[in-house]
Symmetry: C2
Subunit: 188 residues, 2 copies
């Protein structure tokens, strides 16, 4: 069902969290405020750093900081950084030459329009949009988001202090519950 990886969700949460402060933040610190297990936060941050979304400062007093404002980071970038290039089929992702040289790909490109469309959709939504969506629905626009969503008026001010929790992706319980009341059903 096209589900995206849990790490990507974490990444969004972490990035939003990073945007709340100007200086660098350590991964234990972020882990504490987000509720995501620390090793995982560290992993995500490393990945994001490799993807050029955050900058790292090593050593004591080190940490991570956001490189670009949320409004300039499309979800596509986050997904690409965490999950690799967005591609539904291997064909699209692999170099084109390979496919054709083997002559076994008369169908190459069949999924291209689909890929293109999805990529486009993901490029149009920024983290600021997602952050906006995270405020209680009472404050949200009643209409479903129809057109291409760009950096509209972000409600950044509204949500400053509450802890940012990742949304449960895939039914599976999250190991160290970032979300309330011991959801660790598997452990018992």
């Amino acid at each position: 069902m096209l589900r995206l990886s849990k790490l990507t969700d974490y990444a969004v949460v972490v990035l939003v969290r990073l945007s709340r402060e100007t200086g660098v933040q350590t991964s234990p610190g972020i882990a504490a405020t987000t509720g995501i297990p620390e090793p995982t936060v560290a992993k995500v941050l490393k990945t994001l750093a490799a993807g050029g979304l955050v900058a790292s400062q090593r050593g004591a007093r080190g940490g991570y900081r956001l490189l670009r404002p949320l409004a300039t980071i499309p979800v596509a970038d986050v997904i690409a950084a965490v999950d690799g290039p967005i591609a539904l089929t291997a064909c699209v992702e692999a170099s084109v030459v390979e496919c054709e040289s083997q002559g076994l790909c008369p169908m190459r490109g069949r999924w291209d329009p689909v890929n293109e469309a999805i990529q486009q959709a993901l490029a149009a939504i920024t983290l600021a949009d997602m952050q906006e969506a995270s405020i209680p629905r009472a404050f949200r626009l009643p209409a479903r988001t129809e057109g291409p969503i760009s950096q509209g008026p972000t409600a950044q001010g509204l949500i400053t202090q509450e802890p940012i929790t990742p949304s449960p992706i895939t039914q599976g319980p999250i190991t160290q519950g970032p979300v309330a009341q011991r959801p660790i059903s598997a452990a018992e």
Copy 2:
């Protein structure tokens, strides 16, 4: 990387194949012409039948037939039939009540805009479009498909006889190669 399931690719191939004939077709027959292993074809067809995309006729001389023309089947329907409802997060897919009743989902809806956008994109592309895309690139429009792709002038006539092969989804080698080198094409 948002990859969709291999079964979905098979489904598209099978559906396109079904569209080439008016009467019912058996799953062994389709397996032969597409090169997809027979048990898998059967599984896909059963799923598609459950999803209301194809109709089945049981008993001897039975088989499957397409219910709607390709141009009226958006990819979203195929994905939904094979992979379940299109939902990136569990939140969106689960009934809303559950999430809120537990009070552990202040972030609910953060991925909603993304979901919405993707769903919209997938609803705009029909199987006819994908079929069109499957003709050799020489015949394809040079420009990348920019805008929303709807049922444009499908080149259905152009590709009538060549065997339909699934595109390799996910790097992994397909167990019984449906593609090339010894194409299990109908002939033998």
